[in-house]
């Protein structure tokens, strides 16, 4: 049982690490702020979430309630805060005049709509 949990935790952190890596790659490769934000807020948040989760798993064997609870709280916290910050940042960037890259195919929002 213990081994199993450890394998699980190991796989989870590996996946999380890889997700973080891809998020970083995305951050580098994607053309503009909004697209990069997809990478950071989704893959990034997921990566962090997985890390917390694997801590919860490693603690599960010892039945360390405090740690599990805290890990879950951390996980929830990341899920709650990442979209908020991403949304705020996107909004701020747009209002301050940050144009999406020329690759954008549909463009329904104009500055005047929200000014």
């Amino acid at each position: 049982m213990h081994d199993l949990l450890q394998y699980g935790a190991g796989i989870l952190i590996l996946v999380g690490g890889l997700l973080a890596l891809t998020a970083a790659i995305g951050l580098l490769r994607l053309p503009d702020l909004y697209t990069r934000m997809h990478a950071a807020s989704k893959a990034g948040a997921m990566a962090t979430g997985l890390m917390y989760f694997s801590i919860a798993i490693t603690a599960a064997y010892a039945l360390d309630g405090a740690v599990i609870l805290r890990a879950i709280i951390g996980f929830l916290f990341v899920l709650l805060t990442t979209p908020v910050s991403a949304h705020l940042l996107a909004r701020a960037a747009f209002i301050s005049g940050y144009r999406p890259s020329s690759a954008t195919v549909i463009m329904e929002l104009e500055q005047k709509d929200i000014a």
Binding site: S41, K42, T82, P83, A103, E108
Partner: protein, 159 residues
């Protein structure tokens, strides 16, 4: 009875958070929990609470699933050598059905975490949510996805 149960759960959570399962600590958590419950007794006395709770769980489940999916898609997208050709970013005006600020916020946040979408802003009249999509070949399909998925669930939770 429900009141007692909730109090007990709160006491155990307190113990877990503080990391000490001694009797004194649990008792202390219980006292705090009961005080808190007593202070907000009006709000939890509603019969719909449990139904709402169940729906919230359901929403969370959907959300987690979508999140994993979206993370995976982004990951796959960015590691493709031919990323540029698969990338079709768009900003789409999504007509809102939910009304309250609370709901809009929640929806906007959830949209941000779902595959390929990211909420940018709400129009001044609170009728349109502008969404940025990573890859949106088809505008209407995207709108339909959102309307049928998260917005529906949120409306259920908040009725």
């Amino acid at each position: 009875m429900r009141f007692l149960l909730a109090g007990l759960v709160l006491a155990l959570m307190w113990a877990a958070v503080t990391g000490s399962f001694t009797f004194g600590n649990i008792l202390f958590g219980g006292v705090i929990g009961f005080v808190a419950l007593w202070l907000m007794r009006d709000r939890i006395a509603q019969p719909t609470l449990y139904r709402k709770f169940a729906r919230a769980i359901s929403l969370s489940g959907l959300f987690l699933y979508e999140l994993s999916l979206s993370a995976l898609r982004v990951a796959i997208l960015v590691v493709r050598p031919d990323m540029k050709s698969h990338l079709k970013p768009a900003i789409i005006g999504y007509p809102l059905r939910v009304k309250s600020d609370r709901e809009i916020t929640l929806l906007a946040n959830l949209i941000t975490l779902t595959p390929g979408t990211l909420s940018v802003d709400v129009s001044n009249d609170r009728k349109v949510l502008y969404v940025h999509a990573l890859s949106a070949p088809d505008r209407d399909k995207l709108i339909a996805d959102i309307a049928g998925g998260f917005e529906q669930k949120i409306m259920e939770v908040f009725e």
